[in-house]
């Protein structure tokens, strides 16, 4: 199935999604990867505000290449999500609803996805030029000293994504290969 969604999203918007479905995502997406996640954790521990509202948010694990003059964004494919596993359940419990990245997640993330009616979507790894095509605007909103790891507010249109983890326990990284092997 193919779904069109606009972020921020509520759990009800995400409930129909199942592992293997395609999502064309529009709306606001925030970028945050390793160092930004660490600083967000430190801010929360210190009782400080985060650079963006977590409620219903979509977070994309990406560190784009620098944009050339006249370009909205450089190459912008996903980084490996597993490095954020230790910090993601906490974000999900605080309202984050869509995680965008690539690669396996651990059991704690899977449980937090189910508990919160969230989803984990895959962008195409190694296809940064293609992913960049759906980005309409970009603004660095926090920690510019982090360079490619700074937090950016993106407005995207019809960003092509694949559902990996759904809110009922589905995991395409298990079911996809199993289905292919069963077809042989």
């Amino acid at each position: 199935m193919e779904y069109k969604l606009t972020a921020p999203c509520a759990a009800a918007d995400l409930a129909p999604l199942r592992a293997g479905d395609t999502v064309l995502l529009s709306g606001v997406v925030y970028t945050a990867r390793d160092q930004a996640h660490k600083r967000m954790m430190e801010a929360l521990d210190a009782g400080e505000a985060l650079p963006f509202p977590l409620e219903g948010s979509a977070i994309y694990y990406v560190g784009p290449t620098p944009e050339r003059p006249g370009q909205v964004i450089g190459s912008a494919g996903p980084t490996t999500s597993g490095r954020m596993d230790g910090m993601s359940p906490h974000r999900l419990d605080l309202g984050n609803k869509i995680m965008i990245g690539k690669g396996k997640r651990d059991a704690a993330v899977k449980a937090a996805v189910r508990r919160n009616g969230a989803v984990y979507l895959a962008a195409l790894g190694g296809a940064g030029a293609l992913m960049a095509q759906s980005v309409r605007s970009l603004e660095v909103i926090a920690w510019p000293d982090l360079g490619c790891e700074a937090v950016r507010r993106l407005v995207v249109q019809d960003m092509p994504l694949t559902v990996i983890l759904d809110s009922v326990g589905g995991d395409l990284y298990e079911s996809g290969p199993a289905a292919y092997l069963a077809s042989l």
Partner: protein, 279 residues
């Protein structure tokens, strides 16, 4: 004796950094295209088509193929009859600095592994020099992304593990990596030597074009067998399931100790980049 000004080396490295990051080598493109044609599973075929489209999108927009423009691994085959006029290593680092800054490539290098801190210009390069007879100078820039690099492994196997134990180690490495290294992957495999040399062999194997088998028929056969076993795992493009898990692999071997069987797998992805110039 032939003299090459260090500035020429800098110019070449800068141009190669940009070329490697924006245009996939012909052999890797051909392997991806062949995989698209042979892939029987619909979602896998669609996914490979999108990876193919990305190459066109990068070309049209002048964008890097992948946002992880990598650690700049620079390999120089240097003739012993060549004199480099100037600081050899500094010239290479300067080329990386210019290529990554002027080419709008991502700066992904931290100055210290534990204390971190981005160097801001993607230096230093990871330089490997090989001396050769004559007055040639061949420079290859192979930018390496770390989504796949992180899935690489070294093992000190037992001699009794033999070819079967070696094959199991390679296949297990791909199975464990699963969706993380952006499959379909490309593998550089080293076997023999010592703890450090085997890792170098694996890295060196990634420089060999995918359509060139190991010159030793025994190892060429092992390469084919491993490719078949890996493509029976079902991981598929991006880990979504399918036939195409690995586009190609190369094994490099060397003599080793009576007590050892070192093995290494350097995992790379469908964006395995390299560009070469002769000075």
């Amino acid at each position: 004796m032939r003299t090459i000004p260090a500035a020429k080396l800098t110019e070449a490295v800068a141009a190669l950094c940009i070329e490697a990051n924006t245009r996939l080598p012909a052999d890797v493109q051909a392997a991806l295209d062949a995989a698209r044609a042979a892939e029987p599973w619909p979602l896998a075929k669609t996914t490979l088509d999108l990876l193919w489209s990305n190459l066109g999108a990068a070309g049209e927009a002048g964008l890097p193929i992948c946002q992880d423009t990598g650690m700049a691994c620079v390999f120089v085959e240097l003739g012993t009859d060549v004199h480099i006029d100037g600081d050899f290593e500094a010239a290479i680092h300067e080329g990386v600095r210019r290529g990554y800054t002027g080419g709008y490539l991502r700066k992904s290098i931290v100055a210290d592994p534990l204390r971190r801190g981005n160097t801001g210009d993607n230096t230093p390069a990871a330089i490997t020099v090989h001396l050769a007879p004559g007055d040639g100078c061949t420079v290859t820039v192979a930018p390496k992304g770390f989504g796949s690099e992180n899935m690489s492994r070294v093992a000190m196997l037992k001699p009794a593990d033999g070819a079967e134990g070696f094959k199991k180690f390679v296949v297990d490495t791909v199975r464990q990596a699963g969706s993380n290294p952006c499959p379909p992957v490309i593998l550089g495999v080293g076997v023999g030597g010592s703890f450090d040399k085997v890792a170098y062999l694996a890295k060196k194997a990634l420089l060999r074009p995918l359509d060139v088998p190991n010159p030793d028929p025994y190892y060429a056969a092992l390469e084919r067998e491993l490719l078949e076993e890996i493509n029976a795992l079902g991981i598929g493009p991006q880990g979504f399931g399918g036939r195409t898990t690995c586009l190609g692999l190369a094994i490099e071997q060397m003599p080793t100790h009576v007590a050892g069987l070192p093995a290494a797998v350097n995992v790379s992805c469908h964006v395995t980049r390299r560009a070469t110039a002769r000075l």
